[in-house]
Amino acid sequence: MTTPTNSQLNDDDLELLSAYIDSRLSAGERIALEERLRAEPALRASLDELRATVGLLRDLAPLTPPRSFALDPAAFKPKPSLFGGWLRLGSALTAVVLAFTFLVVFVERGGSGAPASTSAFNAMQQATSAAAEAPQVAMSEATTAPAAGGAAPEALAVPTTGTAADSAATTAPPAAPMAAAAATEAGAPIAAAEQPPTAMVLGPVGSQPSIASSQPESSESSGAENSAGALAQQPTSAPYPQPAAPIATSGNASTDTTDLSSTNPTAPNLRVAASGPPTGLIALGVGALLVLLVGGVVLFARRRRP
């Protein structure tokens, strides 16, 4: 007899037979199917053919892989030197920056912090009292200020509105050298914190002092590493026409801030420069963080490679 073709079996029966072969029918299903198998030869024949097919598949000899698929460890070396290198570099730079910061801070605080604040305060008082003095005086005083020329144009621009500058400016130069010296050495945050009166008088630019006064909290490294901070601070503390700036800003605070900040990013230092260069500190801190961030990104990118 010819065995029935597949088309004589519907999908449901096929599934029943298939599950029966795998012993996956429930007791009830199995009993019902076995009854049908006894009664339907076509169903029985199909079952046998399916069993034969499954048997052939199960009897297939397993194939041996032509080679091992083990991975080459050399291809996945995580390059510990890079990770260690970046981390160490970033940590070292951060430590160096913080060290410089604190050296500057401590030196200024221990050295000329008080004198600087005193002279700056005096300068401010003179500025407010001599309200009618010619802007020319301020300009000439500003030019004599021993700071870098960069901020001088700012000081020049400010007095044009006709404010204070005058005799206050004359007292400014003396204060300037001291403030400049203190600033170049120290960098500030603590110095700035010690001069709240100065900071307050500066008006709108007071936002800078507040940043400066918050610096001490962020700079919490040991004093032994201060020299690094001092060296790092110097470039940013170079343009220090502080004497002219505080005086000039007493009357034109907003203008001053705008001019200084627009043309000379380190200019906002000036007012607080009398007490230290917090912006320089911020820049260095940001720089150190950027180094760490870049190192972290590179590390992360490399770790993803395998």
Binding site: D48, V54, L56, L60
Partner: protein, 203 residues
């Protein structure tokens, strides 16, 4: 999964390639066989198996417990599907060509000491016919047939590996078996002993 496997996986997840290679040695037979049966030739199977293990190592952190075998076979399955999809986009490589290339790329069949030469030849012919039949099944049916009847896995594990449910597994399995049965019957390759048994019930 044994404790040893747990330990190997944990170490491998930390980037230890040698631990992962111990896992590779445990599963490369299965993975290679799956790839061969799915793709039809030894070269494609070797490439796919290597890709599967590479992918597994790269994504090892994504293994969050459960059966490593199922996880590994799922990766191998996906790798095979990628190859099959790529083949369909390049119609110059026909399935028939892959399936008939048995002289160059079929795996070595080693004669069983108890086999006669005729039995060996028949077995070899059957293996070729079965692979040919498998190649002409829809991919999903072929996969389930391989996992169930060649790899011996239960419905539940197959459902996990294929990311489907039991009903789908049963349906694809039954249809796949029926289709392969038709191919073998057409080639008169259903073994005589089975045919004899089938005929016996008709009387």
């Amino acid at each position: 999964m044994t404790d040893e496997e747990h330990r190997l996986i944990a170490t491998a997840q930390r980037g230890e390639v040698e631990s992962f290679n111990a896992l590779v040695r445990l599963y490369e037979g299965r993975v290679y066989n799956l790839c061969y049966r799915m793709l039809g030739d030894a070269d494609s199977a070797a490439d796919a198996a290597q890709d599967a293990f590479l992918s597994a190592f790269r994504n090892l952190r994504g293994f969050r417990g459960g059966s490593f075998r199922s996880w590994m076979l799922r990766i191998a399955t996906n790798t095979c599907y990628d190859v099959l999809r790529a083949r369909k986009r390049r119609p110059s490589v026909s399935l028939d060509a892959a399936g008939d290339d048995d002289d160059d790329s079929s795996p070595l069949q080693i004669a069983d000491a108890a086999e006669t030469p005729d039995e060996f030849a028949l077995r070899r012919e059957l293996a070729t016919a079965i692979q040919h039949g498998l190649t002409h099944l829809p991919d999903e049916q072929r996969l389930v047939l391989i996992l169930s009847d060649i790899q011996g896995l239960a419905y539940e594990e197959i459902a996990q590996i294929t990311n489907t449910n039991l009903g789908t597994v049963k349906s694809r399995l039954s249809r796949g078996r029926a289709r392969l049965r038709d191919v073998l019957k057409a080639g008169e390759l259903l073994p005589a002993r089975y045919r004899h048994e089938a005929e016996g019930y008709g009387n």
